[in-house]
Symmetry: C2
Subunit: 325 residues, 2 copies
Amino acid sequence: MSDLPKRVEFHEEGPREGFQIEKKIYPLADRVALVEALAETGLPQIQVASFVNPKKVPTMADTEQLFAAIKKRPGVQYTALWLNEQGFLRAKATPGVDLKGKLSYYASDRFAMLNNNCSAAEMRERSLRWLDLYKEAGIKLDSATIMVSFGCNIEGDVPIAAVTDTVRWLAGVLKERQLTLPKLYLADTVGWANPNAIKRRVAAVREIMPDARIGLHLHDTRGLGGANFYAALEVGVDLFDSSVAGLGGCPFCGNDHGSAAGNVCTEDMVFLCQELGIETGIDLEKLIEASRMAERIIGRPLTGKVMHAGSLAKFRAAARQAAAE
Amino acid sequence: MSDLPKRVEFHEEGPREGFQIEKKIYPLADRVALVEALAETGLPQIQVASFVNPKKVPTMADTEQLFAAIKKRPGVQYTALWLNEQGFLRAKATPGVDLKGKLSYYASDRFAMLNNNCSAAEMRERSLRWLDLYKEAGIKLDSATIMVSFGCNIEGDVPIAAVTDTVRWLAGVLKERQLTLPKLYLADTVGWANPNAIKRRVAAVREIMPDARIGLHLHDTRGLGGANFYAALEVGVDLFDSSVAGLGGCPFCGNDHGSAAGNVCTEDMVFLCQELGIETGIDLEKLIEASRMAERIIGRPLTGKVMHAGSLAKFRAAARQAAAE
């Protein structure tokens, strides 16, 4: 138990993951209120929305207005997602976006084709252009993410070599350009990870990039999110993407039963950390309130658990009180 | 990763936990169909229903009829719950009930009062009477369960000593009577467990009863069910109670948000075991079908995840096919 990190950092993705996937376009005011509530919890970073093609993703058409409307809290990073240069330029032109120099790779060629209409090798080449763009814009390199690091619905199980090959290639590029990579994320994009796979891949990429902080982007698609999160803690991972209330689930997506769970749930994993004595800097009770707000906004029961049962704080307080009497 | 068990045994509790907690009384035929579907999956043991006061628990008033209606599958154990001598005598008089000599204890005095209207010490004394009853009836001692082994909503965190004191007391009784206890369960009755607490308590009770097989009865009340299950696997636990589709949740129970998740979900945890290379003897696809039947019967979305996303089998098969072409 001694390898557990002392402190874990959560980057909240619910406002982007949760609303982007919906068919309905939710009122701007509700989404602003959710981001502002999340910023009050102690979360250090919140992904607010995407700068993507409004014709393809109408739920994210108002990202500029969303950023304009949010009352910012000092110390919180408000980030955004972009997939191409046009999106990046929009993000750059939008006041209040905390721009992060992010690189994206695929561990599966055919998933890259489906998602980005290019091969995994082309994605690597494109990342060189991103390094140039970030340099020109004066943005520091922040992270690289290897998507579908565990498995993909087209190619099946992803071998570790598909992950480590990309990481090795990137290590070479960084050395050549005398750059350092602060964070390296492994993403379980479509829910194929299991605890053994987590531990093995974390160990393998650490060997290649011992100085990069390893982060995980986990989905709870098949109910292993919590076990995968804990397995990562056991090997000292201290950086996670997650979604409040488990947002990011898809009630109508194309799997065989018509729905799927979303990202690993922020407040459930914060609760896990608290119970393990790991610092998060997050006020769990405030976060539970924010998760309930998310559920009210979305308008159907969400998959988070602690938001429905409540934390243990009030029971402990009552027990202490009773013991003192 | 080497301490993971080679094989894990699941005891299904959904038919009892899931329907007992509902306000609605579900048709007998539906409950029969669910039990029969579960028996086809390879599950070795299914808790069918309770023999409890029909005035207090009207959903379980027809337990005799339920047992009479089930077409039994050879090799499957069909068990039942009882809380007092009257219930036991009903179970004993009902054809088809696989009677298990079970003892129950509480690690929290005030929870015992609430649940059984007696102290934890009185529960211990009563268990002596149960030993006599089982002996008279020719039923072998099967298991002992320590309820609220991790925490309780009244007394708060339960110290390890409250668990080990009871186990030590029981070890003394068993020695005196020259009995052996095959299985010792720790139950997280109201969702207070965390991975560290699991590991510590399992180690502590093993020291006292090295020959008893340790089992866990876990709830996913606060989203830690999967992490707790995995932590238990890591210390070699190979026996779990669980509920298909996560049945046992309570949409109207008395916590601060009006609902709570149920037992740890059978098919999600079977999926976890499969992905870790652990044998379960269970056909996951059949189990997923049974979980979808449970959801249709209950009539609202249940909390299981793999039942909604599907397993990885079809993706792997398609990937193999594509690779072969």
